[in-house]
């Protein structure tokens, strides 16, 4: 007991040495970063997996001839027009005479305005035939048949022949995933920021001691960053693994919810994983940024602070309020989503639904800010009175307006983001078919344009 064997190196990084026995204090930060990185990883994997796929019905056909136009955001995901029966017949005849072509398969697909027709012609080739030569010859045959704008697709390019409905579904999925990734990032940065702010308050005496022992403000700042980096690396890697593990399941949910086409499946690739790890670490450092500044401003004499200063951080009232707020928030989110669906069913336009959503976000943030001030200001005034009495002079009440503005803006963004996520479920058609003629089609157009980033 008297001389204990030393197994710890004397010169390991100070940030890590200071963390000894106190890793539990970083549990909140770890959880936030781990979940954030998991959400980012899952979103990134899903996003990179969400490219167009070669439709299953064309899997056995090596070459496809397709009319001009790709369904996309620009044309409201309109299916390209079919060839006229005459052109179809001429094309089939011309393609059949191309050497190496074993069979010509016109695919009849349903279209809007009751315009069924052929939009894609598949070419089966003879075994061992030279695909690129056939492709070139088919291109010439298409031009000779008077359908010059048509394109001959081979290999992965055949994905361009995906149905417009799939392209539309993928586009919606892209918005949802992007919103999910942004939310994940935002939330983790803010939670890390608040956990670190709390840690710095708790450790003012320790930072004061370090300042007395000769730490410059910059060194104190770096110690906080070092801690954020240490937690960030571990949490981001754990989060990335977690995200990769749940991504296929989330993909299944997205398909079920109609945010991705049935052909969607998740591919685990290294780049999104690496990106999410880097983003998780960056989120940790970003979250520690303001707290590190506050730590750097701790004066050496704060080493004399009373150990008990600050009191218990989590009073019972705070626990109750916190749990109640989370439960209330969840209930409201679900309720508002169904409320929007009702709005939509009762004939509100998309514009009205979106306006209602925006108003809600502003209202919620406004109420939250007011409540926050209502809670904080009396307590601050009480502290001020106490301090003034102790100091024998009036202590001014300083409200950090820039910080308040940043927090309020962030809450607004969060509220709007969360509301948009739920609103999507309410205002996007359950089974996105093809644009319908008349009013509804124009309505869809407007709604879509509204959401364009």
């Amino acid at each position: 007991m008297l001389s204990r064997p030393l197994n710890r190196p004397l010169n390991r990084p100070l940030s890590l040495a200071l963390l000894r026995g106190r890793w539990t204090g970083l549990a909140g930060t770890f959880a936030a970063l781990c979940l954030g990185a998991a959400i980012l990883t899952a979103s990134a994997l899903l996003l990179t997996s969400a490219g167009p796929r070669v439709p299953a019905r064309y899997a056995a056909v090596p070459l496809l001839v397709r009319g001009p136009g790709v369904p996309g955001e620009e044309n409201n995901f309109a299916e390209n027009p079919p060839w006229s029966p005459g052109t179809t017949e001429a094309l089939v005849r011309a393609l059949a005479s191309v050497p190496g072509v074993a069979a010509v398969v016109p695919y009849r697909t349903p279209g809007p305005y009751g315009a069924d027709g052929v939009r894609v012609i598949g070419l089966r080739t003879e075994p061992g035939a030279d695909l690129s030569a056939i492709r070139a010859a088919a291109g010439r045959a298409v031009r000779d048949a008077g359908a010059g704008a048509a394109r001959v697709l081979a290999g992965e390019d055949r994905a361009e022949a995906e149905p417009a409905a799939d392209a539309r579904t993928r586009w919606i999925g892209m918005q949802v995933l992007t919103a999910m990734a942004l939310l994940g990032g935002f939330v983790s940065v803010f939670v890390v920021a608040s956990t670190f702010a709390f840690r710095v308050v708790q450790r003012r005496r320790e930072f004061g001691l370090l300042r007395v022992a000769g730490a410059t403000p910059r060194q104190v700042r770096l110690i906080v960053y070092g801690e954020a980096l240490a937690v960030g690396v571990v949490a981001a890697v754990a989060g990335a693994l977690l995200g990769a593990a749940v991504a296929p399941a989330v993909g299944g949910v997205l398909v079920t919810a109609g945010f991705e086409p049935a052909s969607f499946d998740v591919r685990i690739t290294p780049l999104p994983l690496a990106g999410a790890v880097a983003a998780g670490i960056a989120a940790g450092l970003l979250g520690a940024w303001s707290a590190s500044g506050r730590a750097a401003r701790v004066r050496p004499l704060e080493a004399l602070r009373d150990h008990a200063a600050g009191g218990t951080p989590m009073t019972r009232l705070r626990w109750i309020t916190g749990v109640a707020s989370v439960a209330g928030g969840l209930a409201l989110a679900v309720a508002s989503a169904s409320a929007r669906e009702d709005l939509r069913l009762s004939g509100a336009t998309r514009r009205q639904v979106i306006a209602a959503t925006a108003a809600e976000a502003v209202l919620v943030t406004g109420i939250g800010t007011t409540l926050g001030f209502a809670v904080a200001v009396p307590a601050l005034l009480g502290m001020r009175a106490g301090l003034s009495q102790k100091a024998g002079a009036a202590v001014p009440l300083v409200i950090p307006w820039p910080a308040v503005a940043v927090v309020v803006t962030a809450c607004l963004v969060l509220a709007a983001g969360a509301a948009t996520l739920f609103t999507y479920g309410a205002i996007s058609p359950r089974r996105p078919p093809f644009p319908r003629p008349g009013k509804a089609a124009r309505g869809v157009g407007k709604g879509t344009a509204k959401h364009r980033p």
Binding site: A17, L18, R20, L210, A213, G214, A215, T216, Q219, L301
Partner: protein
């Protein structure tokens, strides 16, 4: 330019010139130090005493560069602290000043050894284990190197704190009630240690205390009342010092 400040040859380890310290502003302002001029010669051991509220701790904080006086000049090793920025002041403290508070001097998460090595680590040096052990040996704790503050007694913690100040060989060691939280026996060990540093190494020590027995280890006692100098004693016995302090408290 700001980093080095002005250097003057004074022959004193620390020199205070007309130092005033006012806390707060307006009618409620409190004057903690009211024009104190005082020198601490190299290799001497000075005890600062006075009734509570006399400004002795404030004096020590100002002299050590932990706090900035409202008015007046503080020189440490001939360097004027006034024009130094926060970083330069920190570097000067790191190199020339050691400070021991009444308690809670050590970082709880670090072992005794790591606490002692802290100033060197912060200076960007990689201290050798021998160097750190030597500093701990000087306070008689080389066998407790791997222990954390919670595993040490109050007296041992104070001695580790002293070892930490010694590792940088500071021009002056400040101690604010270093025995204030210790029992008689532990106090005596700490005071004998401080005395030995002065005698053996010519260390300059400035100590605030309210304990006449501790002050009796000093070469001189400076008395403070209401933020002003209220007299001086050469090396005296605890009884003489106690009598003088009692007199001072009566007149206040």
């Amino acid at each position: 330019m700001r980093r080095t400040g002005t250097t003057q040859t004074t022959g004193q380890a620390v020199l205070l010139d007309s130092v005033r310290m006012v806390h707060g502003t307006g009618p409620g302002a409190v004057t903690a130090l009211d024009g104190v001029s005082l020198g601490f010669a190299q290799g001497t051991f000075t005890a600062v005493m006075g009734p509570s509220g006399s400004g002795k701790s404030t004096l020590l904080h100002c002299a050590a560069g932990l706090d900035r006086p409202t008015d007046g000049t503080v020189l440490i090793g001939g360097v004027d602290l006034g024009p130094l920025g926060e970083k330069a002041l920190t570097l000067l403290r790191r190199e020339r000043v050691g400070f021991v508070f009444q308690e809670h001097n050590l970082v709880d998460a670090l072992t005794a050894e790591e606490n002692v090595a802290l100033p060197l680590r912060l200076a960007g040096r990689r201290p050798g284990r021998d160097e750190v052990r030597a500093a701990l040996a000087e306070v008689g704790l080389d066998r407790r190197a791997g222990h954390r503050p919670a595993e040490l007694s109050g007296g041992e913690r104070q001695r580790v704190a002293i070892a930490r100040t010694l590792i940088t060989r500071p021009a002056v060691l400040f101690a604010d009630e270093p025995t204030g939280a210790l029992d008689r026996a532990a106090s005596r060990v700490v005071m004998e240690l401080l005395r030995a540093l002065v005698d053996a190494h010519g260390q300059t020590v400035v100590m605030v205390t309210h304990d006449p027995a501790a002050a009796a280890y000093g070469d001189r006692v400076v008395l403070l009342a209401d933020g002003r100098l209220a007299g001086e004693l050469d090396r005296s016995s605890a009884t003489e010092i106690a009598a003088r302090v009692a007199l001072l408290e009566e007149t206040c």
